[in-house]
């Protein structure tokens, strides 16, 4: 029995690590979309974060500075996107695609000399006795700090959107930018902040890949993680906690698939490794159809340009 060799606690631990980069990118994009902007450049910002984070972490040798650099790298690309879509009123879909294509190319160029290097290790957060609890300790309390901060970030975004005034303004801008503008809110300023936040999150997610999960840099190493994050936002119907559930579900699929590969199941690796993408599509289909139509929950002004006539 192949499943017999898989330890559920180890599986759970690996699942959280696999889910974290996508969850980071998804929670950022969720905020962006809540403000009414569709940024399809997540993949580009993620790879930018992966590359910048790696380069910066390797040079002075600190993963923490690396993560800061990754967030900055993601924000630079996001700022470019904001300039195009908010100031120059370009098509959001096309601009997002441009961001992804540009990011993939730029990082391939910047990261050239960094292939094959091992980054400095990010230490595991010492949780003392918690990590010694049988099963639970192994599964939940032996991670690096980013895993926990990501969960905290999900909570913070949920609280921000639901309970703070600024969060409510952001939702108003996303639901109906004409009305928000009429009430005197600065639609573009709100969106600029949201886009930058999304860029920082995507950058962090990318750095988590290059610094911790994969622990190495290769060209195009995000292999669609940014797109899966975009799908996750739809799957979550724009709700933060659901995004987390989705990311963990997805992480579970990835880890299970990797375990099956390692266990030597008689299915070629290529077929197993397409399963995360297929499952993402399947989930998108399930969530987009049926009675509980997720699209009904989409922000009203999503992907619509806003230009104040006066």
């Amino acid at each position: 029995m192949i499943f017999g060799s898989i330890n559920p606690a180890v599986l759970m631990a690996a699942l959280m690590v696999a889910a974290t980069p996508i969850l980071l990118a998804a929670i950022g994009e969720l905020v962006v979309e809540k403000s009414g902007v569709l940024n399809l450049g997540v993949e580009g910002m993620m790879i930018m974060g992966a590359c910048m984070g790696f380069i910066i972490a390797v040079n002075p040798g600190s993963p923490l500075i690396g993560f800061a650099g990754a967030a900055a790298g993601g924000m630079v690309l996001a700022a470019l996107f904001a300039l195009l879509t908010q100031a120059l009123m370009t098509n959001q879909v096309a601009s997002g695609l441009a961001l992804t294509l540009f990011g993939l190319g730029l990082t391939a160029l910047l990261g050239q000399q960094y292939v094959g290097i091992t980054p400095p290790r990010t230490p595991r957060l010492d949780l003392g006795p918690l990590s010694e609890i049988p099963f639970l300790g192994r599964a939940f309390f032996r991670h690096d700090i980013v895993v926990y901060l990501t969960v905290a970030l999900v909570g913070a975004v949920w609280w921000f959107l639901k309970f703070t005034r600024a969060g409510m303004i952001m939702r108003a801008v996303g639901e109906n930018h004409e009305a928000a503008h009429a009430l005197g809110y600065h639609v573009k300023r709100v969106r600029l902040f949201a886009i930058l936040f999304g860029g920082a999150c995507a950058g962090l997610g990318g750095a988590y890949l290059s610094l911790i999960r994969v622990a190495g840099w290769t060209e195009g190493m995000t292999v669609g993680a940014g797109w899966i994050a975009l799908a996750l936002v739809v799957f979550a119907s724009w709700r933060p906690w659901r995004a987390m559930a989705g990311a963990y579900l997805f992480g579970g699929v990835v880890v299970l698939q990797l375990n099956l590969q390692a266990a030597g199941v008689r299915i070629p690796v290529e077929y197993l490794s397409m399963s995360p993408y297929l499952i993402t599509i399947l989930v998108l289909v399930l969530i987009s159809s049926g009675r509980a139509r997720a699209s009904l929950n989409a922000p009203g002004s999503l992907n619509k340009p806003f230009h104040a006539s006066s």
Binding site: L88, T90, N91, L101, L109, V223, G224, W227, S295
Partner: protein, 361 residues
């Protein structure tokens, strides 16, 4: 104070001038990038845009390469442009390109080593059908389940890449050389070889198909009701629906056309310049074609020019890599910048910049 004022009508002059301006700006920004890499920018730009066609030493080799690179870009770009016009975003052309190549190669390998005039036409049909089929997945999911076609078509690229690898290592592997991944070389199988039609021009059947596709697309977009529906759905979706244009039908048609054309491009590539089903077969034509479609202003004739230009950057990029040791990725950056500049410049098409004096305005 600077203010943007929306134009009543998009400016036609800027629409046509912007692609040229974007190319010029990209050359400047690209030159700066090359300078930052420690290369002489003027030499690099000359090497990329001029030498492949006109230099005495390289042109004999690289001139035919232009059509070889441009044909798939044009073929895919023309199809994408039609969809983009209707706001239907097929960004998974790379996947349809791969599946088309696999279908085409599959037919060829099934007939190997039989001779027969009918094999190549069958491969063409299979290639187009493969791409069509792969594009029908996002199309049907969109029309039946309202699933976002952007995400599905893109995610399917990764699935297609895995299928390609599985085929190269498994089912389609050359049985005579089991030690190597990859299929038989179709260039050595006469009935399936997409050979150069006129020596030293780079013109193969893919180029012919691209020309036919451009003509058809042009006629469809300017003279046929379907083209009108596409444009209407893109510019005024509500009006289109009241006018009896079925959005679902349009999704299927646009994704179907672009998928079939991408599949064709893949098939012509695998049976000609590519030669065999390999893991590294897909080199990103499907993504570059997105830039081609935009740079060509979503107009079939514009796509031809844009396809030739981006084809040129591929060859010039290889040349610059060989002679100046400029990394191959620099060309990707170059292509990305081109799209950025084009999108940014387009604000002039739709908006007018007004200078107003602070509060007095």
């Amino acid at each position: 104070m600077i203010r943007l004022e929306k134009r009543k009508e998009p400016s036609r002059i800027w629409r046509i001038a912007n692609p040229f301006l974007a190319v010029a700006l990209t050359m400047i920004a690209g030159g700066l990038m090359f300078a930052a890499l420690g290369k002489d920018p003027l030499v690099a730009i000359r090497l990329i845009f001029f030498d492949p066609l006109f230099s005495e030493t390289f042109a004999s080799y690289s001139r035919p390469q232009l059509l070889i690179k441009a044909a798939p870009l044009i073929l895919i770009g023309v199809g994408l442009a039609i969809g983009f016009k209707a706001n239907i975003w097929n960004i998974g052309a790379e996947g349809q390109y791969i599946i088309g190549a696999l279908f085409g190669a599959g037919v060829a390998l099934a007939f190997f080593p039989a001779p027969g005039w009918y094999i190549f036409p069958l491969m063409i049909l299979a290639g187009a059908f493969g791409g069509f089929l792969w594009a029908m997945i996002p199309a049907i999911l969109k029309t039946r389940f309202n699933t976002n076609e952007i995400l599905v078509s893109l995610l399917l690229v990764y699935v297609a890449e895995r299928i390609l690898a599985a085929m190269a290592l498994g089912l389609m592997r050359n049985p005579d050389q089991p030690g190597f991944p990859g299929s038989r070389d179709l260039r050595r199988y006469e009935a399936a070889h997409n050979a150069e039609l006129i020596a030293n021009t780079g013109m193969h059947w893919g180029g012919v198909a691209a020309m036919i596709a451009v003509i058809f697309a042009y006629v469809m977009m300017t003279r046929h009701m379907l083209g009108f529906h596409v444009k209407l759905a893109g510019q005024a979706p509500r009006a289109a629906r009241f006018g009896g244009v079925s959005p679902a039908r349009l999704v299927v048609i646009c994704l179907g056309i672009s998928g079939a054309l991408a599949g064709l491009a893949g098939m012509f590539e695998v049976s000609g310049p590519g030669g065999q089903v390999r893991i590294e077969f897909a080199t990103g034509y499907g993504f570059t074609a997105i830039i081609v479609a935009f740079l060509g202003r979503l107009n079939p004739l514009g796509v031809v020019l844009a396809g030739l230009l981006l084809g040129l950057t591929y060859i010039g990029g290889e040349l610059a890599q060989m002679i100046l040791q400029i990394p191959g990725a620099a060309i990707q950056v170059f292509q990305g910048m081109l799209l950025f500049f084009l999108l940014a410049l387009d604000f002039q098409t739709n908006y007018r910049i007004r200078l107003t004096r602070g509060a007095a305005a």
